[in-house]
Symmetry: C2
Amino acid sequence: MKGYIGLDIGGTKILGVLYDKDGKEIKKEKKKTKADEGLDKVKDQIFKVIDKLIEEDVELLGIGAGSPGIIKDEGTVVFSPNIPFRDFNLKEIIEEKYDTKFVLGNDVNVAMFGEWKESGKKEAKNIIGIFVGTGVGGAIIIDGNLYTGRGGAGEIGHMVVNPEGAFCGCHGKGCLEAYSSKTGIQKEIKEQIAKGRKTDLKEYMEEDGAVIKSSSLEKAYDDEDELCVEVMERACYYLGIATGSLINIFNPDLIIFGGGIMESMGNKLLPLIEKEARRHTMPGLLDSVDFELSKLSDDAGVIGAYHLIKSKDND
Amino acid sequence: MKGYIGLDIGGTKILGVLYDKDGKEIKKEKKKTKADEGLDKVKDQIFKVIDKLIEEDVELLGIGAGSPGIIKDEGTVVFSPNIPFRDFNLKEIIEEKYDTKFVLGNDVNVAMFGEWKESGKKEAKNIIGIFVGTGVGGAIIIDGNLYTGRGGAGEIGHMVVNPEGAFCGCHGKGCLEAYSSKTGIQKEIKEQIAKGRKTDLKEYMEEDGAVIKSSSLEKAYDDEDELCVEVMERACYYLGIATGSLINIFNPDLIIFGGGIMESMGNKLLPLIEKEARRHTMPGLLDSVDFELSKLSDDAGVIGAYHLIKSKDND
């Protein structure tokens, strides 16, 4: 059997799947990343996942992978926020050890590439992915290929949507991420609770721990908790503004919304985002763009990695 | 001699230049567009320019052209604001009549393509052009090729830089163009004059007629006219914000600023734009981008058209 491996190298776990040539899942393997034990340990964990997968009788056609951080030349992690990769050429190491083709992308980029490939919108060539999670990430697909600039492109969470607005973790002000990420949403909720506002979210936040769960936000939103509705509407307002700007810039065929918040309550939020985007889109450009919600959930990374290496193999 | 023709089809005049293979200007021809006399007349005027140029002893390798408006498939003008082109397939007509290859792009895109090619920055592959004129236009070059989406991409003048800000001609609110175009600048000046503010610009505007000249703005700015400095600083503030967002989105190699205002006073404005962009750019992304002012002035269109057809000829 000929097959590909898709890897999703995350801050806490490494997920690997062996696929046959046509993308059928053959075998799945998961290991802890052990990022706190250093680079060599992380490398070992990656090897262990691959070794386990190739125990199958497979002729390996290539390995694709996604990792958080800035990726250069589809193989080197310049910097990763939560894994000790620094100018780390993973491509060289994997290609030498396993004598196969390897391609690496940023995790959000790779996941969105997978979402597009599995969306059934093959005629779409220019696609923007908007990922609403702990932060707000993005992916840009131009003419069917991931666009990464010098490795750091797609930081749409740091588009300025309110020039003198809230400070953002990036050092800037008024970034989309400051309003529409889970971090930004939670910060606003905390500030309002500190001011004495009543909300069910207080309870949920005590249960959830450090970061509020998307499912908790959904519950409170469905119960029409006033603060939750207000904060989520604000998040959608700014997402809509950024979406409008992105349509004016890219005149794209498709926009895919993913990430934890969109996965759990995207069907409720997308109409609000679209409505606001419409206010800011040039006449004519809105008609030719489709909006979709991501569908692959936790498997988007490995499926995207499979599609990425497969697309390279046909080069 | 083998040669190319570059055409710049404007709302008031059509400029054509015959170039030899290496881009040396051989002959130049200019005719009025006569847009108010209808489509057939405009076509005739285009033919007259080409006919005059091919009176030279030349083996024509192709014709490139730029036109205002939304361009599809590098040959059809879907819509043009000031020429009566509506879903007009200019490519078919020219290729049949002159038995040569023809390629058409949006005028700002084509001019910026020329600016890049003549900038001496050949190693730059991903380039954003920001055109500050009557409106604010843009051009996106990805991996050395013009990116146009479905024909309408690059409308960076309609990025939202202030969500509930000034109304814009596009029907949106808070677009970059509403603040940083000559139209936006003039509108603000007029409103301030109507409120009784003293300014040298009042005189200049009476002299200039309908649209204030860039040279008048420059004179008042150099004389430290308070209103002029204020309005130009506001224009640069918003240009800087949009530039920061664009760097975060594209991680580009080069940003070129062109258009009437940048040509006349760009050396004074660019530092203000850069300073503001710096506030909003992700750490690391600013180091790898160069800022340039356009250099070709009125010839950018024809030179860009030459480079565009030449780049296609090598396909």
